[in-house]
Symmetry: C2
């Protein structure tokens, strides 16, 4: 195997291990020795790839944000807006459950936004923009009343998801994220939808996989 390919594999393994360690311990309590031990590499190997704990954490946040942007862009443009926004939230929840890089990046960006100013506010702003576009589609499709303040609704959807995710992490290390997410939409959809579409709520909630 080419040296470069091996180096790339080590780098990915380091990022995944760092993601898990940061997601469990937080930024302040994590040492580079913890990450070296979890990754099963040498300290020298870690320093070859990342010059500091801050550099490693920044890379995780950047990767998680890139991942979130890819998720926003990969969303099917032909689905109904209201289905799409629920699907988006479930997709992110699935990534938190399964992807160490997302777990680490998510914890780091919610716990220490001002330690990473280059990536602190963009993810929130991008999510609000993405939610706004999808909710505007839902208005055009007659699921949300035309008079609603969709910009405010987008901000609230993003904030509520953030809160559900932060609390689920604090209390259960995200073990109860899926049931809490279903609960969240159960409380929000009745107000979001026009009355004639509320019969669809059980169908929409079923978009969220029955995990954990």
């Amino acid at each position: 195997m080419a040296k470069q390919a091996r180096s790339q594999i080590t780098r990915e393994a380091l990022l995944r291990s760092a993601g898990l360690v940061f997601s469990e311990q937080g930024y302040a309590a994590t040492t580079l020795s913890d990450i070296v031990a979890a990754a099963g590499v040498t300290q020298g190997s870690l320093y070859f790839h990342f010059e500091s704990k801050h550099a490693l954490a920044s890379e995780l946040i950047v990767r998680q944000h890139a991942n979130a942007r890819a998720t926003m862009e990969a969303v099917p443009a032909d689905g109904r807006g209201i289905d799409t926004i629920v699907l988006l939230s479930a997709t992110i929840a699935g990534q938190i459950a399964d992807d160490p890089i997302v777990r680490g990046g998510m914890r780091l960006s919610t716990e220490s936004p001002r330690d990473f100013p280059e990536v602190a506010t963009r993810p929130y702003e991008d999510w609000v923009t993405a939610c706004h576009a999808v909710l505007a589609r839902a208005v055009a499709e007659g699921d949300i009343a035309p008079g609603r303040d969709v910009a405010a609704m987008a901000r609230f959807v993003m904030s509520a998801f953030t809160g559900v995710q932060v609390v689920s992490q604090a209390l259960t290390q995200w073990d109860d994220l899926f049931p809490r997410l279903r609960e969240m939409w159960g409380f929000m959809l009745p107000d979001m939808l026009v009355e004639s579409r509320r019969t669809e709520i059980p169908r929409i909630l079923a978009i969220i996989p029955d995990r954990a």
Copy 2:
């Protein structure tokens, strides 16, 4: 002035300065020198009161939690439940706006719950318990339908407030917390209340002071 009283004043000044510095910079980026500089005391004076950054941060979290408990207990028992839960959220928002110890404790406990395991999950659990009791009163008073899952609603109220607070901190260092809080209740009250009480939403929203 007695030596003990002066010592107590210095300790409070240190906590207030530390609260502001932690709330602006986060735990990881804050050094004891930053706090010494902000408080205008000597390094020796800081070490006389707190043995480490972790000890200072723990004290802030403990104080903020004690403050939150006092807030829950001070809530008038004679107000309507639905008014009370909105008032509680506005009271906490006011403390975040005005009290450096609450600002610091709030940021530290949402950013690093697992760095402070002794105080990590209790505040969330206490808030859910307090919200649950107040919402149960709202059911008894006919504002919330008896069939609603009030335990889940309490969890969601607490999570949504957490998200609004975390996002407001990340994007504006809490400058927009009051308008965002009013928005949150504007989205949540229509689903929470029975139909015949929804005409009261403007009155209930007016409980939140018109700040910032």
